[in-house]
C-alpha cells in the first residue's frame, strides 16, 4: 500500500547527460535539496508521517485463551511459555494472597501483559498543535495507566531512569505497521499465576489495523525469567459504543496480618501447583512449561508421558 500522502521522493526525469536546461534545472534542484536538508537538520528532525490511525475505542475479543484472559490462569499452568528455571521457582513459591497487600492492591497490568488482559482499550492520538503531525499514541485500558508511545524519534532514557508499568515506548512505522519498542518496565508477570517478568525485560510490539480490527503482536525478551522470546498476538474490534471509565483504586485492609508478613510458600511445600495437571489430566512435567513446550513437536513427546492419577474432579476444557 502506498504510504499516506504518496511517495515524495525526488526522481530525476532526464538522463544524467540530458540537455543543458535540464542540467541547469537539476543543478538548481540539487542546490535546493542541499539547502533543504541543512535546514531540516538545523530545525530538527520531524516525526515520520503516520501511516494508519489507531485512535479509537477497541473492544477485546476473547476467542483465544479465554480462561486466562477473563477468570485468570490456573495455578501451576506454565504450559507453552519459555520460562527459565528461576521463573518456575518463583511461581511455585508464589501465594496469590500477596496481592492483598496494600502495596499491590492497585498494581495495574504492565505494558506487555495488558494487551492480553480482560479490559477494553482506548487509543488516543496526540498531535503537534501547529503541524498536526501525530507525535504520540496513548493506549489506556480499564484499570491501567496511560501507556504513551512516542513517535517523534526521541531517545530512550538512560539506564538510571525510573521504570514504570507502561515502560518507555517509542514507535516506528514499517509501512502500515507500527513497531513499538518498550524499555524501562517495572517488574511484572507473563501470567497471573505468579510467573514473573523482570524489570530487565524489553518488549517489541507490532500494531496492525485491518479495517475495524486491530491485531497486536507482543514479543517479550527477558534475560532473567525467559529463555526465548515470548510471542503472543491479540485481537480487538472497533466499538463505537464503548467508553473506558476512570478506575480510581483505593488501598484497603483486606486481611489483617502482623506487620511485615509477606504471603508465600516455602520451597517444596506448595501442592497447589499440581492441581492443574490432575484436573486436566495433563502430564505434570508438561505443565512445568519451558521453551520446549511452546513448539508443535512437543506434542509427540507429550504422548509418551504418563498421565497423572486423577484425584480431583475433572473440569472439561472450555
Amino acid at each position: 500500500m502506498e504510504p499516506a500522502g504518496g511517495d515524495h521522493r525526488w526522481r530525476p526525469h532526464g538522463s544524467p547527460t540530458g540537455s543543458r536546461p535540464e542540467q541547469e534545472r537539476m543543478h538548481k534542484l540539487i542546490q535546493c535539496a542541499v539547502v533543504g536538508s541543512a535546514l531540516a537538520l538545523v530545525l530538527g528532525v520531524r516525526p515520520a508521517a503516520a501511516q494508519v490511525d489507531f485512535s479509537g475505542e477497541w473492544a477485546p475479543r476473547f476467542h483465544e485463551d479465554q480462561p486466562e484472559r477473563v477468570p485468570g490462569p490456573e495455578l501451576g499452568d506454565y504450559l507453552g511459555i519459555p520460562i527459565s528455571e528461576a521463573a518456575r521457582l518463583r511461581a511455585d513459591n508464589w501465594e496469590a494472597s500477596i496481592q492483598t497487600l496494600p502495596e499491590w492492591q492497585c498494581r495495574p497490568h504492565s505494558a506487555d501483559y495488558i494487551w492480553r488482559g480482560p479490559s477494553q482499550l482506548t487509543i488516543r492520538k496526540e498531535e503537534d498543535p501547529l503541524t498536526r503531525e501525530i507525535i504520540a499514541f496513548h493506549a489506556e485500558w480499564l484499570r491501567s495507566i496511560d501507556n504513551t508511545i512516542y513517535l517523534d524519534d526521541r531517545p530512550h532514557p538512560s539506564e538510571d531512569a525510573l521504570h514504570s508499568w507502561g515502560g518507555f515506548a517509542t514507535g516506528k512505522w514499517e509501512g502500515d505497521m507500527l513497531t513499538v519498542t518498550v524499555t524501562h518496565l517495572k517488574e511484572g508477570y507473563v501470567r497471573r499465576n505468579g510467573l514473573p517478568r523482570s524489570d530487565r525485560a524489553t518488549v517489541t510490539e507490532h500494531w496492525m489495523r485491518h479495517g475495524d480490527f486491530l491485531t497486536v503482536v507482543t514479543i517479550v525478551n527477558d534475560p532473567v525469567y525467559l529463555t526465548e522470546p515470548f510471542i503472543r498476538s491479540t485481537d480487538y474490534e472497533l466499538d463505537l459504543h464503548q467508553h473506558v471509565p476512570p478506575y480510581p483504586c483505593e488501598m484497603v485492609t483486606e486481611i489483617e496480618r502482623p506487620r511485615g508478613t509477606i504471603p508465600h510458600h516455602l520451597p517444596g511445600t506448595n501442592t497447589q501447583v499440581q492441581e492443574f495437571s490432575e484436573r486436566y489430566e495433563i502430564p505434570f512435567e508438561a505443565t512445568r512449561g519451558g521453551a520446549e513446550t511452546s513448539y508443535p513437536d512437543y506434542r509427540k513427546k507429550l504422548k509418551q508421558m504418563p498421565l497423572p492419577a486423577r484425584t480431583r474432579p475433572r473440569i472439561e476444557a472450555q
Binding site: 537538520l41 538545523v42 527459565s84 528455571e85 528461576a86 521463573a87 521457582l89 518463583r90 513459591n93 500477596i98 497487600l101 502495596e103 499491590w104 492497585c106 498494581r107 495495574p108 496526540e126 503537534d128 507525535i135 504520540a136 496513548h138 491501567s144 495507566i145 496511560d146 501507556n147 504513551t148 512516542y150 513517535l151 517523534d152 526521541r154 531517545p155 532514557p157 538512560s158 539506564e159 538510571d160 531512569a161 525510573l162 521504570h163 514504570s164 508499568w165 507502561g166 518507555f168 524501562h184 517495572k186 517488574e187 523482570s198 524489570d199 530487565r200 534475560p223 532473567v224 525469567y225 476512570p246 480510581p248 483504586c249 506487620r259 511485615g260 509477606i262 508465600h264 516455602l266 520451597p267
Partner: protein
C-alpha cells in the same frame, strides 16, 4: 479526573519540558551545538565525560551515579545539600560534575552510613563549601565557616573515629553533626528543603539513615536499598536482616505513590537506578521471603553450609547477583543466617566502635 502522569510517561509535549535524563538533553545540546558550528560545548557535557552520570529527579534535585554509592544533590538558592559523597578517588570528578549543576557552595553533606563508597568524598567536597551558620562569625568561632557541615547518625562518627581505624581518618572526613534519636528534622531554609532523618537501627549497619526531602518528595535510602545487589547486611557492624526489613517497611510507610502504585515519592537507592515505592515493595518482598526461608531452615537445625547449598535465593540471583557486585548470594545468605542465629536483630545502636570496613569491591 486530574492526575499527574508518570515521570517517564508524559505526553510527548510535556516530556520535552519536564522530566528526562540529562544525557538526552546533553545529546540534543550537542547536536544543536554542532549544527551551529559552535566550539563551545555545554557545561553538562563534561559531566558525561567523567564517568559520572546525572539523572534529573526533580527540577533542582539530581542523582549522580558512578562515583561509588549514588549521590543525591539538592540545589537551592543558598547552595547545595548532598546526601553521601562517593568514593575518595572519585571526589574530583564528582566535584566537577556538581559544578555543572551549580556554582554555589556545598553547604551540607548527609551520610547514610559510614561506608567508604558513601563517605569517601566528605573531606574534599566539604572543603570546597561552607556552612551557612559560620558566615558572619567565622572570626569569632574557629573553623565555623570552613567547610560544609557533615551530618550523620552517631554510630557513623563512632565507626569512623574508632581507635582501630589505622591510619586515623582526617577529622574533616568525619561527621561534625550527629544525631542518636529515631528521627531528626533539619530546617527548610538552611538545607533547601524540610529534611527528615530517620534512623534505621540494625539494618545494613547500626548507623543507617533514611533521608527524606519533604517538599521535593524524594527519599534517599543509602545501602538499605539497591537495584543491583542483595542488601549488604554487615552483621559485624551491627546490621541485621530484621532491621533491614523494618527499614524497607519504614520507607514504604513514608513514600506515597502517585497513581496505580507508581511515581509519587521518588527513591534514590544506594546503588542502581532511580526508583519509586513499587520497586522498594518488590525488594522488601524478596528480602522477607528469603529471611523466612532461612529462618525455617534454622528451626530445622540446618547448618550454614546446608542452607547455602539449598540455594534459598536461587530465583532472585538473576536480579541481584552477578551484576558486577562482589557481594554474592552466598554472602547475603550467610549474613541472614548469622543475624538470625544471634537470636536478636543485631547489636545495639550505640555499640562499641569498630573500624569501618572497606566496602565490597563490587559496590562501585
Amino acid at each position: 479526573m486530574s492526575r499527574q502522569p508518570s515521570p517517564i510517561a508524559h505526553t510527548a509535549r510535556e516530556h520535552d519540558k519536564g522530566f528526562g535524563c540529562v544525557g538526552a538533553r546533553v545529546l540534543r545540546l550537542l547536536c544543536a551545538s554542532l549544527l551551529c558550528a559552535s566550539v563551545v560545548l555545554p557545561p553538562v557535557l563534561s559531566a558525561q565525560q567523567s564517568d559520572i552520570r546525572v539523572t534529573k529527579v526533580r527540577d533542582h534535585f539530581f542523582m549522580l551515579t558512578g562515583a561509588g554509592g549514588n549521590v543525591a544533590a539538592l540545589v537551592f538558592p543558598q547552595g547545595i545539600t548532598l546526601v553521601d559523597s562517593g568514593r575518595l578517588e572519585m571526589s574530583d570528578k564528582l566535584l566537577a560534575t556538581l559544578r555543572t549543576l551549580s556554582p554555589l557552595p556545598i553547604r551540607y553533606i548527609i551520610n547514610t552510613s559510614a561506608d567508604p563508597d558513601h563517605t569517601g568524598g566528605n573531606e574534599k567536597l566539604g572543603a570546597t563549601g561552607g556552612q551557612i551558620t559560620g558566615g558572619n562569625v567565622a572570626g569569632q568561632v574557629a573553623d565555623a565557616g570552613e567547610g560544609a557541615e557533615i551530618i550523620a547518625h552517631e554510630s557513623v562518627l563512632d565507626r569512623m573515629t574508632a581507635p582501630s581505624v589505622k591510619p586515623p581518618l582526617p577529622i574533616r572526613m568525619t561527621p561534625g553533626t550527629t544525631y542518636h534519636v529515631e528521627h531528626l528534622k533539619l530546617s527548610t531554609v538552611y538545607h533547601g528543603d524540610g529534611i527528615e532523618l530517620f534512623s534505621a537501627p540494625a539494618a545494613h549497619t547500626d548507623g543507617d539513615t533514611i533521608v527524606y526531602f519533604r517538599k521535593n518528595d524524594v527519599l534517599v535510602a543509602g545501602d538499605l536499598f539497591s537495584t543491583t545487589s542483595y542488601p549488604v547486611i554487615d552483621v559485624e557492624r551491627g546490621g541485621g536482616v530484621n532491621g533491614e526489613i523494618d527499614a524497607l517497611n519504614h520507607i514504604l510507610d513514608i513514600a506515597f505513590p502517585d497513581f496505580r502504585l507508581e511515581g509519587g515519592t521518588l527513591i534514590v537507592p544506594g546503588h542502581g537506578r532511580l526508583c519509586d515505592s513499587a520497586d522498594v515493595a518488590y525488594y522488601r518482598d524478596m528480602v522477607t521471603i528469603i529471611r523466612d526461608r532461612v529462618q525455617d531452615q534454622i528451626k530445622k537445625g540446618m547448618t550454614l553450609d546446608q542452607v547455602k547449598a539449598s540455594k534459598p535465593t536461587k530465583e532472585y540471583d538473576g536480579l541481584y547477583a552477578g551484576n558486577g557486585s562482589a557481594y554474592t548470594a552466598d554472602m547475603f545468605v550467610e549474613a541472614v543466617y548469622k543475624s538470625l542465629s544471634k537470636n536478636k536483630a543485631a547489636s545495639p545502636v550505640r555499640a562499641p566502635a569498630l573500624a569501618p570496613k572497606a566496602a565490597p569491591a563490587g559496590k562501585k
